[in-house]
Amino acid sequence: MLVIKNLTKIYKGTTKGISNISLHVEKGDIYAFIGHNGAGKTTLLKAITGIHPFDSGEVKIDGTDVSADPLEVKRRIAYVPDNPDIYEFMTGIQYLNFTADVFGVSTAEREERIARYAEEFEIAGSLGDLISGYSHGMKQKLVLISAMIHEPKLLIMDEPFVGLDPKAAFLLKEHMRKMTAGGCAIFFSTHVLDVAEKLCNKVAIIKEGHLVTSGLMSDVVKETSLEDIFLETVSDAK
C-alpha cells in the first residue's frame, strides 16, 4: 500500500530533516512510527502525503507515485496532523461537508457517515457550533471524522491520540482495527508506546532523521517491551 524508497528531505538552510528512509506498509497493517521530539516523524508524514516536496527518493501509494500524480494519491489517503489546526471560521458540519465535497462523497454516503461517526465520537450535538469554540479534543475528533469520511485506503496520522478523552481514544483504536480489517492500512506516529505495542503489527523507529529499526512488532520487541527497545535504540544508535 505504501512504499517508501530512500526518501530524503532536508530543510533549506539547515541540516534538519530525514535521510535515506525506506519503509513498506502493506494492506491491513497498523504501522507505528516512533521517535524522539524533532526526530523527523512529522517531516516524513508530510512528505508522503504530498504536503512537503522532498529532495530525493520515491514514495508510492497503492502503486501510484506521489510526485507523478499527487492528486490521485491524495484521493486514496487521509491525513490527520499533530495539531488540529482547522478552519475555525466554519461550523463542524460545514467543515465536514467541505471535506466531503472535495473528496466527492455522495450526499447519502456523507449523511450516513457523518451521523454515525459524530454519534460515536459524541460530537453530534456540537456540529452546528463554530470550530473556534471547540476544545482541542473536539477538534481532534472532527479531524478524525473528516479523515474517515471518504473511506481512505491509507490513513496517515501524526500523534492521533493527543487530546482525546479515554473513550474517544478507545473508539479510535476500535476504528483503526475495523478499518484495517476492511483492507485499509494505517501508518501513524505516536509517543504512546503502550498503545503502539498493543495495537500495531509493525513498528519503525527513527532517530535524528535516520531510520534505526523497522519491521514486525513481534520481531522488534521480542521478549522485552517497546519502551525498552525504544530507549535502547535511540540511546545507542548513531
Binding site: 516536496p53 492528486l71 491524495k74 461537508n97 465535497d101 450526499t107 457523518i114 452546528g128 469554540g133
Partner: protein, 550 residues
C-alpha cells in the same frame, strides 16, 4: 514605572516585526520581512512626496497659509481613526488576558504601556503627515527659527489628544461589536463610517474646498477662453476667497493655525498640557478597569444542540469559493481593509450623478483642472478596485490551515481560481451598482465613453485580483499572530498598492490627451492590461501549492 517599562518594552519589542527579523533563522522568512520593510519604506516615501506636493500646490496657488491649519487637522483625524480602529486589537486585546491576569501586577501598567504604543504609532503617523508640508511651508514663508524649533514638539504633542479620544471611542466600538450577533458586519460598518467620515473631513481641506465650476476657471466673464496663467490666477483668487470665508466661519481655526505656525508656542504647550492631562486620566480610568473591560469584551461562544439535517453536495470549485467566502466574512479586519475600495466605486458613481467629472476629480485628487476630465472617469472608477485586492492576502490568511488545502486532492489551479473568482464575486455587486447608477449619467459620456466606463473598471478589477494573488504567492506569510499582520502589514499587500499606480498613471495620461485621441489611448491601455493580466494568470497557474510554506 518599572512595570510600565517592562510592559512597554514587551509591546514594542516586535514593533513592525523587527525582533523576528533580527532573530529568525529562516532565510526565506528573513527575505520576506526585508521585502515588507522596503515596501513600507517606499510607501512612506510616496506619502511624503504626495503631502509635500500638496503643500507646494497650496503655495503655488497662494494659499500656503492653510498648511499649518490643515495638515495638523489631517494628522489628528488620521491618528484618531487609526487609533479607534486599532483599540480593539491593541488596548483592549483579549488574547493574552488570562496570561496577564495571572501575573502579580495590576492592570494600570499594562494599559499605560498599550496606550503608549498607540501614542508611538500616532507620533509616527503625525511625523509623516506634518513634517513634509511644514518643511515646504518653512522654505516658502521663512517664518523664523521658532517655527523650525516647534516642529519636533508639534509631532510629539499633536497625537496625544487623538490617542486619548480614540481610546474612549474604541471602547464604545468594541462594546458594540462584542454585543452584536453579526460581529464582523458591525466592525465593517463602524470602519466604513469612520473612514468615509475621515474622507469627508479631510476633503474639506483639500482642493475640494475651493471647487468651483470648471467653466468659471477656464473662461472669463465675457465667455472668452483663459490662458493657462490667467486660469492659475483665477484658481488662486477663488481659493483665497474660500480660505477667508472658512476662517470667518470658524474663528477657532485661526487660533489652531497660530499654534502650529510658530506664532503662539505657549498656546501649543498649553494644548499639549491639556492633551496630556486627558491622556493621563484616560490611562487611569481604563488602566484600573482593563481586566474588567476586556472580560466583558471577550467573545462568548453560544452552543445550540445540533440536529443533523439534509446535507447538500457541491462541486469542488463551489466548495472552495464557499470556503473563501466563509474565511473572508469571518474576519472584520479583512473585510474592512478590502471593502472600502468597492464602496468608493459606488460613492464616485453617485458623485458623478450630481457633479461633473472635473469637480469629482478635484474633490478626490487635488486636480482642479484637466483638459479632458470625462475621459478619466473610467479610470476614476477603476482606481478603488485596485486599492486593496482580497487575493493579496488570501493565501497568507490560510495561515496554520494551509496543510488542509495541501493535503486534499485539489489541483493548485483550482485553489488559485477559487481565490480569484471570490475576489471578483465581491467586486461584482459594487461594479454592477456603479454601472446602473451611471446609466442615469449616460448622456455625458456618449457611446464610446459608456463603453469605457463599463470595460475599464472590469479589466482593472480582474487585473487587481490576479496581481494580488501573484504577489501573495511570491510573498506568502503563513506564520502570524493576528490577522492584521497579514491583511495590513504584509509585503504582498504593500506591494499590491502599486496596482493603484497602474490605474492612476494611465488615467492621468488620458486626462491630458486631446479628446480626439482619448478613446484610442484608453483602448491601448485596456489591451496592455489584459495582456499583463493574462501573463500573470499563466504564471500563477504554474505554481504548485505544495511548494509554498514549510
Amino acid at each position: 514605572m518599572k512595570l510600565f517599562c517592562a510592559f512597554f518594552m514587551a509591546e514594542m519589542l516586535n514593533f513592525a516585526g523587527i525582533n523576528v527579523y533580527r532573530y529568525t533563522t529562516n532565510p526565506s522568512d528573513r527575505k520576506r520581512r526585508k521585502a515588507l520593510m522596503w515596501t513600507v519604506g517606499v510607501l512612506i516615501v510616496i506619502a511624503i512626496a504626495y503631502l509635500a506636493g500638496m503643500a507646494y500646490g497650496y503655495e503655488r496657488f497662494g494659499i500656503g497659509r492653510i498648511t499649518p491649519m490643515a495638515f495638523p487637522l489631517i494628522a489628528v483625524v488620521v491618528v484618531f481613526v487609526v487609533g479607534a480602529l486599532r483599540a480593539g486589537g491593541c488596548l483592549y486585546r483579549t488574547k493574552d488576558r488570562e496570561l496577564l491576569a495571572s501575573l502579580p501586577v495590576g492592570s494600570l501598567p499594562i494599559a499605560a504601556a498599550r496606550l503608549a504604543k498607540m501614542y508611538v504609532i500616532g507620533a509616527l503617523i503625525t511625523a509623516v503627515v506634518l513634517i513634509p508640508p511644514f518643511v515646504c511651508y518653512g522654505i516658502c514663508h521663512n517664518p523664523g527659527i521658532l517655527f523650525w524649533v516647534c516642529i519636533p514638539a508639534e509631532v510629539l504633542i499633536l497625537p496625544i489628544l487623538p490617542v486619548a479620544l480614540s481610546a474612549w471611542v474604541g471602547i464604545v466600538f468594541c462594546a458594540i461589536i462584542a454585543r452584536m450577533r453579526h460581529k464582523v458586519l458591525a466592525e465593517v460598518l463602524i470602519a466604513l463610517v469612520l473612514v468615509f467620515g475621515m474622507f469627508l473631513v479631510t476633503s474639506q481641506f483639500s482642493a475640494g474646498s475651493f471647487s468651483v465650476s470648471i467653466s468659471e476657471l477656464t473662461h472669463g466673464e465675457d465667455g472668452a477662453e483663459l490662458s493657462k496663467e490667467q486660469m492659475n490666477e483665477r484658481i488662486a483668487e477663488k481659493a483665497k476667497e474660500a480660505i477667508s470665508k472658512l476662517e470667518e466661519t470658524v474663528p477657532a481655526l485661526t487660533t489652531w493655525r497660530s499654534f502650529f505656525s510658530g506664532e503662539k508656542p505657549v498656546g501649543l504647550l498649553l494644548f499639549g498640557l491639556a492633551s496630556l492631562v486627558l491622556l493621563g486620566l484616560t490611562a487611569l480610568a481604563i488602566g484600573h478597569n482593563l481586566f474588567a473591560i476586556t472580560g466583558r469584551l471577550a467573545p462568548v461562544a453560544y452552543h445550540r444542540e445540533y440536529k443533523l439535517s439534509e446535507l447538500q453536495s457541491s462541486s469542488m470549485t463551489e466548495a472552495l469559493v464557499r470556503k473563501e467566502a466563509k474565511r473572508y466574512f469571518a474576519s472584520g479586519v479583512y473585510v474592512t481593509n478590502t471593502i472600502l475600495g468597492p464602496f468608493f466605486v459606488v460613492a464616485i458613481a453617485i458623485a458623478l450623478l450630481f457633479f461633473d467629472p472635473a469637480s469629482v476629480l478635484s474633490k478626490l485628487g487635488n486636480l482642479p483642472i484637466a483638459m479632458n476630465p470625462t475621459a478619466a472617469v473610467p479610470f476614476l472608477l477603476a482606481v478603488p478596485f485596485c486599492m486593496m485586492s482580497i487575493t493579496a492576502s488570501s493565501v497568507s490568511m490560510e495561515g496554520k490551515n494551509w496543510w488542509i488545502v495541501k493535503s486534499l486532492p485539489i489541483a493548485s489551479k483550482d485553489v488559485w481560481n477559487a481565490k480569484i473568482l471570490f475576489n471578483l464575486l465581491v467586486f461584482a455587486p459594487f461594479y454592477a451598482a456603479s454601472e446602473v447608477i451611471l446609466l442615469f449619467a449616460d448622456a455625458r459620456f456618449g457611446v464610446a465613453g459608456r463603453l469605457w466606463v463599463m470595460a475599464v473598471p472590469l479589466v482593472y478589477a480582474a487585473f487587481s485580483a490576479v496581481f494580488g494573488l501573484f504577489l501573495n504567492i511570491r510573498f506568502p506569510k503563513f506564520c502570524w499572530e493576528t490577522e492584521t499582520e497579514v491583511v495590513k502589514q504584509s509585503a504582498a499587500v504593500g506591494l499590491s498598492l502599486l496596482a493603484v499606480f497602474a490605474a492612476i498613471l494611465p488615467g492621468a495620461a488620458v486626462l491630458i490627451v486631446p479628446e480626439a485621441y482619448s478613446s484610442l489611448a484608453t483602448a491601448a491601455i485596456v489591451v496592455v492590461l489584459c495582456f499583463v493580466t493574462a501573463l500573470l494568470y499563466k504564471t500563477i497557474c504554474a505554481v504548485e501549492l505544495r511548494n509554498l510554506g514549510d
